[in-house]
């Protein structure tokens, strides 16, 4: 049997139809309709060149070939299934399309109907009318047929109702009425025209009732309001900051205490072993592993917090709120979180860059993180500010945080205009998900996998580097001590390296091996820089009163009487000079060695220039030395 078709404007339909293509959105009852229409007279074969299955059959009532195409929302394909739908429609000009229209989601079905109906005669089989009636949104099908100008038939594939009318409808298939011309237009412009047509059809059919507001939307009215949502966002940021300091720090101290106790026990247990062997195993390997272990609770806490924020849907809201500020440096709002976490600790901050969608944005954010002044740098500021600016210590420390912000924003601006020219300038356009309860089991699994990843990959780099540092401190460069003896720091290879680089800091006013040694140690972990200074001076009291006197004497001598300017320059250098070993390892793990080395070189250069500038200016104005 063949069916004659009737054209109504817009194109020329085929004179005779030999096949019917069944098209529709997913889950609208299309396959059930196909099975009902064909019964046992069907076969399955792959679409040419694909693994996508096409169901072919014979429509029992008409004798026409019937092809059940995969469900799709659009003819702009995103999946192999959707490509098959588009290609089949383009390759079968002899066929009419029977579009299955979901009455409970009429707009999306009409959009697909419009895409199909621009090219070939169509008829519409409307399903899900029971669902639409229950919602009170069932369309008037006679009116719909009048507006569309094509046959529209109500069917219930499971009950078998409407099937006889359907055969008649296919015989009367036509091109859709009033469709805009979309040929040759880019997909999105064509989509805009067709959505406008759908909107017009719906308005003529029955103006849609306003969409009801959900609980998520009511919460969003508050949380996306800058005047209320802004402070809530800052509170969330403060909470994350507190997690990296107040909450994680005691846990890290606890683990540190266990590692120290284990190291003491290991030293006692290896009392009979050669000094170099026990030193390398305990102070190199064991302490290295202990350093990695110390970071694990911190990372686990941050990962849990990030997963909770993301799973609940709040992270996307925070990104929308912060986007305007972050766009200045070419990043989207999500970059705010890693940068804020960086003020607590840089290691989880680098890890948190994974919340960003593009690799370039993750890299740019990761490169900026080390300029956020982490809590480990605070003891250095407190010591130096207390020793050199006792009346204005708070102002000096605040100045370091301010400078950190300047470095992040300034660094971002420079990088965006040089290496990262292609990063985004458009506002963040993100469709917000509804708020939902986080999946605790999934969070536990993902946190475990990520912490394990850090321990294995970044941990390996940390342990190897700490063994190398131990070797430098154990090998004497001068004096009478042998390898494995208790080598004085200034006589070790480590002291020799520090002394050799100290002259580089003469323009910054702190040309002294003890200060350069503390910077080398500070690369291992920023918080031990103060301890390294105390060790170099053989002073047990690390306060501004105890150690401070020695520092003032040294810097007054190296700076020509401008000790305060030199101290400020040293603080600035500590702020900016390089990420600590754990951060560098995490950078290396995520962005590779090349970018990490380039970043360290850039930071060293910027920190040196800033320190020199601070000293040169500070030593020339009154009040700083």
């Amino acid at each position: 049997m063949t069916v004659a078709c009737h054209a109504t404007g817009g194109g020329t339909p085929p004179a005779e139809v030999t096949a019917v293509l069944l098209v529709g959105n997913p889950n609208v009852g299309k396959s059930t309709l196909f099975n009902t229409l064909t019964g046992a007279r069907q076969s399955v074969m792959n679409a040419p060149g694909t693994t996508v299955e096409l169901h072919h059959g014979t429509w029992r009532a008409t004798g026409l070939a019937l092809v059940d195409l995969p469900g799709t929302y659009s003819l702009v394909p995103r999946t192999p299934d959707e490509e098959v739908v588009r290609d089949t429609l383009e390759g079968r000009p002899d066929a009419v399309a029977l579009v299955v229209v979901d009455a409970s989601a009429l707009s999306r079905s009409l959009y697909l109907l419009a895409q199909v109906g621009t090219r070939r005669p169509v008829a519409a089989a409307v399903t899900m009318l029971d669902v639409a009636r229950a919602r009170g949104t069932a369309p008037d099908l006679a009116r719909l047929e009048e507006i569309l100008g094509v046959p529209v038939v109500a069917v219930d594939p499971r009950a078998g109702s409407g099937l006889a009318d359907l055969a008649d409808a296919v015989g009367r298939a036509r091109l859709l009425r009033g469709l805009p011309e979309t040929a040759g237009l880019p997909p999105l412009e064509a989509a805009d025209l067709l959505f406008g047509w759908v909107d017009g059809v719906l308005a003529r059919l029955d103006p849609p009732a306003p969409a009801p507001q959900t609980r998520s939307d009511r919460v969003d009215r508050a949380l996306l309001n800058p005047w209320f949502g802004g402070p809530v966002f800052l509170l969330a940021i403060w909470g994350l900051f507190e997690l990296t300091t107040a909450v994680a720090a005691p846990v890290m101290d606890l683990v540190d205490g266990w590692v120290s106790a284990l190291a003491d026990a290991a030293r006692a247990g290896m009392a009979g072993a050669p000094g170099w062997l026990s030193g390398m195993l305990v102070d190199g390997v064991l302490v290295g592993v202990g350093t990695v272990a110390t970071f694990l609770p911190l990372l686990a806490i941050i990962y849990v917090a990030l997963a909770l924020l993301e799973d609940s849907g709040y992270l996307a809201r925070a990104a929308v709120l912060a986007d305007r500020f972050m766009r200045v440096i070419g990043l989207d709002g999500r970059a705010m979180l890693p940068l804020v976490i960086g003020f607590g600790c840089n290691v989880p901050a680098v890890a948190a860059t994974q919340t960003l969608p593009s690799a370039r944005q993750r890299l740019l954010t990761g490169l900026l993180v080390p300029w956020t002044t982490c809590a480990a740098r605070l003891p250095v500021y407190v010591l130096l500010a207390g020793a050199f600016f006792p009346e204005h210590a708070g102002t000096a420390i605040f100045g370091m945080y301010l400078l950190s912000l300047v470095l992040v924003v300034g660094g971002g601006l420079v990088l965006r205009r040089t290496v990262f020219r292609e990063v985004r300038r458009e506002p963040l356009l993100i469709v917000l998900p509804a708020y939902q309860r986080p999946h605790l089991r999934g969070i536990a699994r993902s946190v475990w996998a990520r912490v394990q990843g850090f321990a294995i990959k970044a941990g390996g780099i940390i342990v190897v580097t700490l063994v190398l540092v131990w070797l430098l401190m154990a090998v004497p460069a001068r004096g009478t001590a042998a390898v494995g003896d208790d080598v004085p720091v200034e006589d070790s290879l480590y002291g020799a390296v520090a002394a050799s680089i100290a002259p580089a800091f003469a323009p910054a006013g702190f040309d002294d091996w003890r200060f350069s040694a503390s910077l080398v140690t500070g690369f291992v972990a920023k918080e031990v820089a103060v301890g390294a200074l105390a060790q170099s001076y053989a002073v047990a009291d690390e306060s501004a009163d105890g150690l401070g006197e020695h520092l003032r004497t040294t810097l007054d001598a190296t700076s020509g009487g401008h000790g305060a300017a030199a101290a400020l320059a040293y603080m600035v250098f500590v702020l900016g000079y390089a990420p600590c070993l754990a951060t560098a390892s995490e950078l290396w793990r995520r962005f590779g060695g090349s970018w990490t080395l380039r970043m360290v070189a850039l930071q060293l250069s910027v920190a040196w220039l800033a320190a020199v500038a601070v000293f040169q200016v500070g030593s020339r104005i009154g009040g700083l030395g």
Partner: protein, 85 residues
Amino acid sequence: MTADLARTRPSGVVARVVDEVGRGGTPAAIAARTGLPADLVEGVLAELVAAGVVEAACSSGATCSVAALPRAERPITCAGCPLAH
């Protein structure tokens, strides 16, 4: 691209949705603010996501914990997310 679309658009449906995405909101909230049917907004958003003009929050979730769950335990709402598979 969005600005171009807003300038040349004959229907304005897509541009209205894009504007509301910029203000922040779920598909339901965007439908309520534009007066468009919710499923029409979802259709527009699907095309915008496919064209790379807007992002769906769920598809940007590198920290999304759902990916760590066995497939059978993932919520049905994640069925459309390419990263959940």
